[in-house]
């Protein structure tokens, strides 16, 4: 059974970036355009990794994160955002509440998407998102 990837982002370019970057991996990639849709998805399907945008119409990224964690406490969630300052407090609070997540600043290239996803899904975690950011 192939690994499942969920991308929650209202930007088509972002969704497509993930699809293109991961085309050869054989992972099943689902893309949704909002937090609500993402939540619906996770209710019925199990995912191995979730990429979550912060600024979206409807439910924002953090709220979605909290909902997702209600359903699945363990799935690695990577918040990929173009601009996270306005959500900083919410994220901090989420951290304080013990909600686990990682942050990756947009834009990220295909190799980063590939290595990150592979690393998470195949257990090769040598490349942490934060250190990646700091290169």
């Amino acid at each position: 059974m192939s690994k499942r990837v969920l991308v929650i982002d209202d930007e088509k370019a972002v969704q497509k970036s993930f699809i293109l970057a991961l085309e050869d991996t054989g992972y099943h990639i689902d893309t949704v355009r909002s937090g609500e849709e993402g939540i619906e998805k996770i209710k019925f399907d199990r995912y191995d990794i979730i990429f979550l945008d912060l600024k979206m119409p409807g439910l924002d990224g953090v709220a979605t994160l909290r909902e997702l964690r209600q359903i699945d406490r363990d799935v690695p969630i990577y918040i990929i955002t173009a601009f996270h300052v306005e959500f900083l407090d919410k994220l901090k609070n989420a951290t304080k509440d013990g909600i686990d997540f990682e942050i990756i600043d947009k834009p990220i290239g295909s190799d980063q998407i590939l290595s990150l996803t592979r690393g998470v899904l195949e257990g090769a975690m040598d490349h942490s998102p934060r250190s990646e950011q700091n290169v």
Binding site: D9, E11, K12, A13, V14, K16, S17, F18, L20, A21, E23, K55, A82, F83, V85, E86, L88, D89, D105, K106, P107, I108, G109, S110, D111, I113, R130, N134
Partner: protein, 878 residues
């Protein structure tokens, strides 16, 4: 008189003769007793003798009944012998009642055999007439019966003469007495009553009415009535209600006649009176009086003046006893009246004089009192005045000193006769000498009677007290008459103004202090009057507005300062003058090229009207510049804030498509053979896309500065920060051809910082360095970072013109900038220092002009608190 004496002598002789005859008769009687016969003969002889005797001879018994009377007796008594004989003298009423007792006494003597007489009796003769007789009586015995033989001699003539003589003597005595009394009669006594009473004494039992005459009114006024008794009622009936107040008008025509007493000859029914005549109107009244008795009128006149009149009302039958005496008395009275009138006039004159004297005396007393009062006042003033009052000669020698000089320790003898000029301060003497000369000039004028040209002058000088302390004196001198009235002196009224002088000095020094203070105020302060004219201004004012305060020429301030013909629009001074309220305004003064903040406050006069204005003009050019800078900064900050927001939005918006572009390129690259000509083009595209992503990322990180208050410290590598800044500024360094070299020591660990804040500091310093390099031939920036003890030391060096030592410290002050307005914020370095200080580090400038600037920044490597905190948070993530 000679006749009278002769008669008297004869009488006396006769009397003696008769006495001898009586003696003979007595002898004969005795002889008769002895010789009866002879007696008859003798009796017959005697009878015939008696019968023809010159004296009346009568015989009566002891009852008074006549038994015999000779011829002479008949003659004397007036009764015939037949009427007498057998009748008593009582029955015949021969004697008036007053003689009856006397007669009885004599008869009693006769009855006991004694002789009486001669005694004088008044006989009432037949027909009521009166005769004075002298009676000698002797008792005779006939037929055993005692009878009285009386001899009666008519002595009426003699008596009359005697009476006249006596009356004359009495009148003389009376007149001399009344004359004396008249002489001593005081003015207060009623002379008319006196006249009335004394006239009555002269004329006997009568009523005397006395009138006074007034030349002025021509009226007789009834003054007094004497002896009226019961008649007063009758008089009242005749003369009117009040006889004493009665006036009788008199015709001026007849007045001379009254006074001359010749009116009895004036025709027209005048009454002839005893002593002259009266005119008809008077006589008319007197006529009325006639019914009361015989009336006589007398006028008191003397030397042609009529003084009054008297009307004498007598009982019928009475006659004026002695007209001569009456006339004399009237004359006396006239004289007395004249004298009295003269006296009265004199008294009046005297009284008037006395009154005038009294008045004058009173006036004098008043004047005296006034003088005394004034003297007392002056004395009071001079004795008690705090001022010193002194009089000197024109040479300055003291001639009078008020007691107040004692307060200076001097007694009169200390100063009197001394020259004031010699006592006063030497310097002042020299100064005052010419003044004294002036006074001397006045004195000379005074001698020519020009004293009235008053001359007084106030002078001040120093004068020692007795203890040698100097007093400041202020004297006013004026030329006055000398005390002794001889010549002129100078009166000095002197006030001790030492205290005032001290106060003045203090005031002066206070004013000086104020002036200095006023002048040392660096803000231009000025005081203007209602017409905008400068009353006063401090030095700063003069300097700021380039005005010579001595050459104001009454020009209004707007003319002086702004060069305009009327106050500027919005001039606060004009506002204050118009409203009386303080006002402020700020404006640019183009003439001087400065900004001014002008405030004006009103100064009110006693009538609550604005008297003047205090005008404070501050040069606020610098503040204005600062404000401009601030405004610029604010604008910039706002702009940056807006930019931040925009950048954030843009970044967000760009990042998504950027991610798309990057991934799409990478996808294409992946599916393109490296031999393909398109492969390097795609590689270029990928690189440019990544560069775009970097630019956006950097843009974001800087736009976020200032919003990072809540950003926590984090561990960061210095190299990354420097790299970012260089990247951010790369477009500028490349454009301006600046070489940026960076060397970060490898052993420098990550340090705890607020990345964005430090990033901004680095940006600032490098940005400044770039500014400093503009125009420099050598354009190099060298950045070096290495550990130094507990700190990470980061050095920024440039090859610019350097920073002057005096500016080096100031560059960290807020708003200090060396850049043209609008180009530099002046905040950069001060904010940088704040940030670094907040980190516990420091930032300093080391620079020598010509060799470029060197900024040294020290940041602590470890901040334990932060580190610990961060460690706790960081550990799970690691």
């Amino acid at each position: 008189m000679a006749d009278t004496d002769k008669t008297k002598e004869q009488f006396t002789n006769k009397q003696e003769e008769m006495l001898q005859q009586v003696a003979v008769l007595e002898a004969s009687q005795a002889k008769h007793d002895q010789h009866k016969t002879r007696m008859w003969e003798a009796e017959e002889y005697l009878k015939s003798y008696i019968e023809s005797a010159p004296d009346g001879v009568y015989i009566n018994d002891l009852n008074g009944t006549f038994l015999y009377g000779n011829k002479k007796a008949e003659e004397i008594i007036g009764y015939a012998r037949e009427e007498l004989l057998g009748k008593s003298f009582l029955k015949l009423k021969l004697l008036p009642p007053k003689h009856l007792i006397k007669a009885a006494k004599l008869m009693a003597l006769n009855s006991i055999g004694k002789r009486t007489g001669p005694d004088e009796f008044e006989l009432i003769v037949k027909g009521g007439g009166r005769k004075w007789v002298e009676i000698t009586a002797a008792p005779i015995k006939q037929d055993g019966k005692t009878m009285v033989l009386g001899f009666v001699r008519d002595v009426t003539e003699r008596k009359k003469d005697k009476e006249i003589e006596k009356q004359y003597v009495d009148d003389q005595a009376f007149l001399s007495k009344t004359a004396t009394e008249l002489v001593f009669l005081s003015l207060e006594d009623d002379i008319y009553t006196f006249i009335a009473e004394n006239l009555r004494k002269l004329v006997g039992n009568c009523t005397v009415i006395v009138n006074s005459f007034s030349e002025k009114s021509g009226n007789f006024t009834l003054q007094s009535i004497a002896g009226a008794g019961r008649r007063i009622n009758a008089l009242t009936r005749v003369l009117g209600k009040h006889p004493i107040g009665m006036t009788i008008p008199i015709d001026n025509r007849v007045k001379p006649d009254i006074t001359s007493g010749v009116l009895n000859k004036v025709p027209g029914g005048l009454y002839e009176l005893s002593f002259g005549a009266l005119p008809k109107p008077i006589c008319h009244n007197i006529e009325k009086l006639l019914s009361l008795g015989d009336t006589h009128a007398i006028a008191f006149s003397w030397k042609g003046y009529l003084y009054g009149s008297a009307a004498i009302l007598m009982h019928r039958g009475n006659i004026i006893r002695n007209p001569h005496a009456v006339r004399t008395f009237v004359n006396q009275v006239s004289i007395a009246l004249q004298r009295r009138q003269a006296e009265q006039e004199l008294k009046q004159a005297h009284d008037e004089l006395e009154m005038r004297v009294k008045e004058r005396t009173r006036e004098l007393e008043k004047a005296n009192e006034a003088i005394k009062e004034s003297e007392r006042k002056y004395r009071l003033i001079t004795d008690n005045t705090a001022d010193f009052i002194a009089m000197t000669t024109f040479e300055g020698v003291y001639v009078y000193l008020s007691p107040s000089h004692k307060r200076l320790g001097y007694t009169e003898s200390d100063l009197l006769g001394k020259n004031a000029l010699q006592i006063m301060h030497d310097d002042d003497r020299k100064r005052l000498l010419p003044l004294l000369a002036k006074y001397a000039g006045m004195k000379i004028k005074g001698l020519f009677g020009l004293k009235n040209e008053s001359f007084s002058q106030t002078v001040s000088y120093r004068f020692p007290d007795k203890w040698g302390n100097w007093h400041y004196f202020e004297s006013t001198g004026s030329i006055v008459d000398a005390i002794d009235g001889k010549g002129l002196n100078i009166l000095f009224i002197t006030r001790d103004i030492t205290e005032r002088k001290q106060v003045e000095e203090k005031l002066e020094s206070a004013a000086q202090e104020w002036r200095i203070t006023f002048d040392s105020i660096t803000t231009p302060v000025s005081i203007h009057d209602k017409n905008f004219r400068l009353i006063r201004a401090n030095r700063a004012f003069a300097e700021t507005f380039h005005i010579n305060l001595k050459e104001l020429n009454g020009r209004p301030c707007y003319k002086l300062i702004h060069g305009t013909d009327e106050p500027m629009v919005g001039c606060p001074l004009a506002k204050t003058l118009a409203t009386g309220l303080p006002a402020t305004a700020e404006f640019f003064e183009p003439q001087l090229g400065i900004y001014l903040n002008v405030s004006s406050s009103p100064v009110f006069g006693e009538d609550s009207q604005v008297l003047s204005c205090v005008h404070i003009a501050s040069d606020i050019t610098k503040r204005k510049q600062t404000e401009d800078t601030l405004r610029f900064l604010t604008a910039k900050s706002e702009r940056m804030s807006a930019m931040s927001t925009l950048a954030a939005g843009v970044a967000h918006e760009l990042n998504n498509p950027m991610m798309g572009i990057l991934n799409l390129i990478q996808y294409c690259l992946k599916h393109t053979s490296e031999d393909d000509l398109r492969y390097p083009v795609l590689q270029d595209s990928e690189r440019e896309a990544k560069r775009c992503a970097d630019i956006v990322k950097n843009l974001m990180s800087f736009s976020l500065s200032g919003q990072e208050g809540e950003v926590e410290y984090e561990k960061q590598r210095v190299a990354i920060i420097i790299d970012r800044v260089i990247k951010l500024l790369s477009y500028r360094t490349e454009r301006e051809h600046v070489t940026v070299t960076c060397h970060v020591a490898e052993e420098l660990p990550e340090i705890w910082i607020k990345t964005n804040a430090i990033q901004q500091v680095v940006l600032n310093i490098v940005d400044n360095a770039l500014d400093a390099l503009a125009g420099c031939p050598k354009k190099e920036i060298y950045i070096e970072a290495q550990p130094e003890g507990e700190f990470a030391k980061i050095l920024f060096c440039d090859s610019g013109c350097g920073i002057a030592p005096e500016t080096q410290e100031r560059i960290f002050e807020p708003f200090f900038t060396t850049k043209p307005v609008g180009q530099g914020t002046g905040l950069g370095l001060s904010v940088s220092r704040n940030i670094v200080n907040e980190h516990g580090g420091s930032i300093t400038c080391e620079s020598t002009p010509g060799t470029g600037a060197k900024f040294k920044m020290l940041l602590p490597i470890h901040t334990r608190r932060k580190e610990e905190k961060q460690d706790e948070q960081a550990s799970p993530g690691d």
